[in-house]
Amino acid sequence: MADFENIQIDRRPLWAVLISKVWRTALFLCVFAGLVWVLRHNPPAGWTPVSFKAFSIFCFIVFLWATGLIPPPIASVFAIVLLPMAGVITSKEAFALFGSESVFFVLGALILSAAIYMSGLARRLALLLLKAFADTPRRLVTVVFLFCALASFFMLGNGVAAVILPIVLSIITELKLERIHPNIPRAVVTAMWWGTSIGSIATVLGGARTILTLAILEQVTGKFVGFPGWSLHVLPISVALIAVALWILHRHFALPETSLEALRPFLQNRLIQIGRMRAAERFTALVLVLTILAWVTLGRRYGMAAVALSSIVAFFVFRIFNWEEVEGYVNWGVILMYGGAVTLGVALVQSGAAAKMTDLLGAHIPASGVLFLTALFAVVQLFTQTMSASATVAIFLPVALSLAPATGVLPASCAFAVGAAAGLHLLLPAGGPNAALAYSTGYLKTGDLIRPVGLIFVSSVLIFAAVAGFWWPVLDAAR
């Protein structure tokens, strides 16, 4: 029988329902008609027909990504269709970009992350850590925060949030933490939200947008950055932010030092329920460690994708998971996002539109490279609060890469700035799935978090400026 709990009747007047349902289609058609009109007319002075067409299609796709009128992966596919149709690049060129190594690296990393989630390893680790260290509300918040941050180094941050949320919610309700102090549940869910967000920028495994960032960088500039390259640049930002965020959490929520005596038996019961460590968990842990080692030592020689795919093959050779299980956990849309974003980036460069954009923006961008990168980091972080992280990367990175030569910064630095900022969903409930999960608990209200959110945003920008200004030049000099 259909589940009637899942059916809702829209009680608004029918005209209001109609408008709410058709406005997206109507707006899409209007904007698309505008694009067709623009494509059929002569370009403004200074633009070649091809570069102006590329720029117009870029603006149109950016509009689709930003508004979500159609799902971002589908908007990306539309870009791959529009560019050959408008004569910017050939159809063969557009689709050939899907055949690159980067696509398979994206695929491998996503499946690896799904495997960690499915194995139950993350849940077991969370329970063990909480049982060992969380004996007061302050320590509970610290353990939840640190676990979320560290686990997000190795699997998707949103996946970590999905693992930890049921555990923290059951702790909050079973131990009646709200009665002990109303701030405890708020602090715990904020710790989960911020921890997964900050931790997920540290490595390429933390979020699909990081993989997308590196893939666009490689396709547009030919510059390869692997697992160690990314982490060497961004891990210091993540670590510093972890320390600052933990300080803000404790200071803002002012938690009591009450003992949580009932927590340990409660967690012990949960551990008994999930039983001994299964073979799948052990195998997953082993494969994860070996994969990271291989990325660090063999990544440049054999390619990141080959390493990732070898690990995936191992899971299936030893029948740890079946394909149907994996299918459900992988965000396949990211592959399409990647295709569209890379195609657009290449089209902008090849057509000369990127150079033209650089000319136009050149007068307005900061002369200092660090200032430019910091401004880029801040702007991208603000945008990612209301847009999907992948869409934010797809919009900002091609433009930033085209501006890089004018500002004297390395293209890879632009990629680090955009990729890291796009993952920091620290400000608004709409920021990302982990923020939405935290708000869905009902313990958080936007108004209560204005001060800590403001503090963490300013801190993140300052930390980024310090790392980009002092640490990145050291790394660049060491090459």
Partner: protein, 404 residues
């Protein structure tokens, strides 16, 4: 319609419907009795001895058979009967003069056991519990025993297809007779039939329910394709209700009105209906109840006591007839509102506000062309399409629980 001498029309079909519902139809010809009734007449409860007619303007009536009626029926040819009396005669289509109810399914069950045609409705009673059918049902289902049987879906499909081939049916009315509240198991029994009808036939689906245990079920019914819904009040007076309808003692008037209010919030205007029985309580009380139902957006449907069950005296009949003629239930009279309620023309065994409205408008000389538009089948088809479109826009699957 013509008088015997071939004079022009003097009486409206709607008024004739009132008269036939109140005074019944006499069938002198025994062969016709055999033809129109599924069993020998002495084996049929008096309550179920009824005949179904469709007049040339589309007005439908399901009238009781009464020996002393001033109106007589005779068979003209298969599918067509002639009604005469009070100095006039009129040809009417009658499903009961075809062999529909005598036919059997491929599994050997009589069509009449699966369901019956009544006006533009096909009544499909579903097994739910051993409760007797409501007093106003056109006929007791399942071999006249009053207990519905859960029929095979293919068999129901076969009968429905034959019913639609007869050309008169436009609505499938499903009824689950629950003496206790309408609940999840009842919906589980209902849904396969509902889905079968919606996916195989282009028709409206009507459902008769009792107050539910959980109001969320009402949203589910709408979402799954129920177009018109009945939750019958029948009688306002609780003592009379307990006396005449003991099976309904589980529900109070408040339960039913609460359900109706919830339904009005979910279903389109003009599709939440509630039957009131005329003649078992003072007419003023029925009128007040009807006006109250209208005020909360529910369409009252006035049903006459089935003939023979508790025969009305002529004095009472005269009083009801006068009442129905003067009935002015306050529906909007603009064309749009009348279109929204045009499906009520398909109800043949009761009086709807549309009938009283039509009588009134005809006497005030309303234009004939709007009348023809609203009686046309395509008008109701367009209404049904509008309902489907509304459902498409209004139903949100996967949302939080609705309180109905």
């Amino acid at each position: 319609m013509r008088e015997d001498g071939g004079k022009p029309e003097t009486l409206s079909y709607r008024r004739l419907k009132l008269e036939l519902l109140l005074y019944g139809i006499a069938v002198a010809d025994e062969r016709l009795s055999e033809k129109i009734l599924p069993l020998p007449i002495e084996e049929i409860p008096v309550i179920s001895r009824r005949v179904d007619l469709t007049f040339p303007d589309g007005t439908r009536v399901n009238a009781p058979l009464e020996d002393g009626s001033p109106y007589q029926l005779r068979l003209l040819r298969p599918g067509v009967a002639v009604l005469s009396g009070k100095g006039m005669s009129v040809e009417a289509k009658s499903i009961l003069t075809s062999d529909f109810h005598q036919r059997r399914t491929s599994l050997g069950n009589p069509f009449s056991e699966i369901g019956q045609i009544c006006g533009g409705y096909f009544f499909l009673p579903l097994a739910g519990d051993p409760a007797p059918a409501p007093a106003d049902s056109p006929r007791p289902p399942a071999g006249l025993a009053g207990i519905a049987v859960q029929h095979d879906l293919r068999e129901v499909h076969e009968v429905l297809k034959a019913a639609f081939d007869e050309g008169l049916v436009e609505v499938v009315k499903i009824a689950i007779h629950s003496p206790t509240a309408f609940d999840k198991p009842a919906v589980e029994r209902l849904l396969p039939y509902l889905e079968m009808v919606k996916s195989n036939f282009k028709c409206m689906v009507s459902l008769s329910i009792s107050p539910p245990k959980e109001f969320g079920l009402l949203s589910l019914l709408y979402a799954r394709g129920v177009d018109v819904i009945f939750c019958d009040l029948f009688l306002v007076d609780e003592k009379r209700s307990a006396l005449h309808l003991p099976a309904r003692s589980h529900f109070s008037e408040e339960d039913i009105v609460e359900t109706l209010s919830r339904l009005v919030g979910i279903f389109p205007r003009g599709t939440v209906l509630s039957k009131l029985i005329l003649g078992w309580e003072p007419i003023e009380e029925t009128e007040r109840a009807a006006e109250h139902l209208l005020s909360i957006g529910v369409v009252p449907v006035l049903s006459l006591i089935p003939a023979g069950r508790d025969r009305l005296s002529n004095v009472v009949r005269e009083a009801i007839f006068d009442f129905l003629l003067s009935l002015n239930l306050d529906l909007d009279r603009n064309l749009y509102s009348r279109w929204l309620h045009s499906h009520l023309h398909l109800i043949s065994d009761s009086i709807t506000p549309n009938d009283s409205l039509e009588i009134d408008m005809r006497e005030k000389g309303a234009s004939a062309w709007t009348d023809r538009i609203l009686m046309a089948r395509w008008s109701r088809r367009s209404l049904s399409s509008a309902w489907a479109l509304r459902r498409y826009f209004k139903v949100i699957e996967g949302g939080p629980a609705s309180d109905g």
